[in-house]
């Protein structure tokens, strides 16, 4: 029982990180109609910035906050310079742009920080916390669980209750009508990228202490986050987040209980998700809003 609980907490903790990444994917999906393949690489790049700050002697929390701010600005710059010129291009061109962005960010990280695997400090303590007599969990696992909960709540609050959040939702729903109600759509599109890059940075600094930091670290979380987004419904930020959590738990359970689970967890998780999508193509919580015509 305690083993199961331990696996569950580990699963929820990494699931929370996938949830954040999945949400970042949804934000960009809603504005471009495409999955940002470079989301993982962008998060890794951000994490390298945090690592550099820490090396320079900046304490970890200020380093993280600064990184999120820089990433937010970086997301806006990417939207303006890389994505905006192709706004009206064909689907395949946009996919190529995202692949290019993926390779570009990846290589840039490699060029600046090389491909050597680096340890990354936890924003929480390095020790363990004992929850029960025979159950102790790494402080980082619990801390990142709480941190992701806080990020998801903050994002939910932002979209649900703020004027800017409403404007972003409107932009995703109907661009032309948004302009006609006086919303600066161009600014909202850039803002969406900024937010995605900013929360992606949070995911990066939470996952790096577990997986260690190297330019290739972003791919696996991206795949799990994408699986989560598809499972929950890529049109719904919170459906996608919930999907991300489910994928995290699934990953932990497969690794713990299925023979050869650790080797095949990605494949098994994806197979299970694909079978769900066969039954519910829009994902479990995808907004297949019924429309009268």
């Amino acid at each position: 029982m305690t083993f199961f609980l331990e696996q569950l907490i580990i699963g929820l903790s990494s699931g929370g990180i996938y949830a954040i990444m999945a949400m970042a994917l949804v934000m960009i999906y809603k504005s471009t109609g495409h999955v940002n393949l470079a989301q993982g690489e962008m998060a890794v790049f951000s994490t390298f910035i945090a690592w550099t700050l820490v090396q320079m002697g900046v304490p970890i929390w200020p380093a993280i906050l600064l990184t999120v701010a820089v990433s937010f600005a970086g997301g806006i710059v990417i939207e303006r310079i890389v994505v905006r010129p192709f706004a009206d291009a064909d689907d395949l061109v946009i996919v190529a742009v995202f692949v290019g962005l993926f390779l570009g960010v990846h290589s840039l990280a490699g060029a600046i920080w090389n491909y050597e695997v680096k340890p990354f400090p936890s924003a929480f303590s390095d020790g363990s916390i004992s929850l029960m007599a025979d159950l102790s969990i790494r402080a980082h696992t619990l801390g990142s669980l709480i941190a992701t909960g806080a990020v998801l709540t903050a994002v939910w609050f932002f979209f649900r209750y703020t004027r800017l959040g409403l404007a972003l939702r409107a932009t995703a729903d109907n661009r032309e009508s948004s302009r006609l109600t006086g919303i600066n759509v161009s600014f909202m599109l850039a803002l969406g990228w900024g937010l995605a890059a900013g929360i992606g940075a949070v995911a990066g600094v939470l996952i790096a202490p577990v997986t260690f930091l190297d330019p290739g670290m972003g791919l696996a979380p991206l795949i799990f986050a994408l699986a989560g987004a598809l499972l929950g419904g890529i049109t719904s930020p919170f459906g996608a987040a919930l999907g991300g959590v489910m994928v995290g738990v699934l990953e932990a359970m497969i690794s713990a209980y299925v023979p050869y689970g650790i080797e095949f967890r990605e494949m098994i998780a994806l197979l299970l998700i694909l079978s769900v999508l066969l039954v519910k193509p829009a994902g479990l919580f995808g907004e297949l809003v019924t429309r009268r015509v």
Binding site: R163, L166, S177, G182, V185, R291, R292
Partner: protein, 245 residues
Amino acid sequence: MTHALELQNVTASYGHGAILHGIDLTVPAGGVTALLGANGAGKTTTLRAICGMIETRGDVRLFGESITGKTPEAIARMGVAHVPDGRGTFTGLTVIDNLRLGAFTAKKRRNFQRTLDQVFGYFPRLKERTGQHAGTLSGGEQQMLAIGRALMSEPRLILLDEPSIGLAPVIVKQLFEILGQIARDAGVSMLLVEQNSNLALKLASNAALLEVGNLVARGSAEELSRNQEIARAYLGDVTAEGTAA
């Protein structure tokens, strides 16, 4: 007197080929002006030109101030509310969020509740549906929502693009009664595009007639409904329609 809207020699095109060939049009402040014409005459294009949604040349003035070349969001902020063809509701958002978005540019945010009550006064149906996604509303309700959203911005000028389209006659009748009421109460100016000339001329005080990108007649609504030559040529037989209704 300044007009709510004044178009002088306005030309508009969608990249290739002009749709409007230099039209002059005025919308007096505080009244309803109908813009009539057959399918493809350029009615919708005229509205899109006013809103800055397509490339426009010439001079468009809003209460005396030139708005030619401004962006749609800037023009919206200056008090122009556009109820586009196809209604343009945010289908994935709730009714109340749609109305909140209408008030996005409203100058005085503290007027929100009062304006909202006004809108619910005109369209009580919307009040029952506040939490529902706009996409699940009936066509008539969506049109009410689109007009309600326009009113939420406390506009100086409302542009209505074929509000009757796709709606059952009984709903259209209700809708136009409410539009008349809004025009009387709020003192807001309206430019109404309609294919149903009979309906539009009853509501409007002034009217203008478009034919393939050219303005061919304008005057009071009464004059235009009596102008049978024009009416027959561009609108079908208005007299026959009038007696039938």
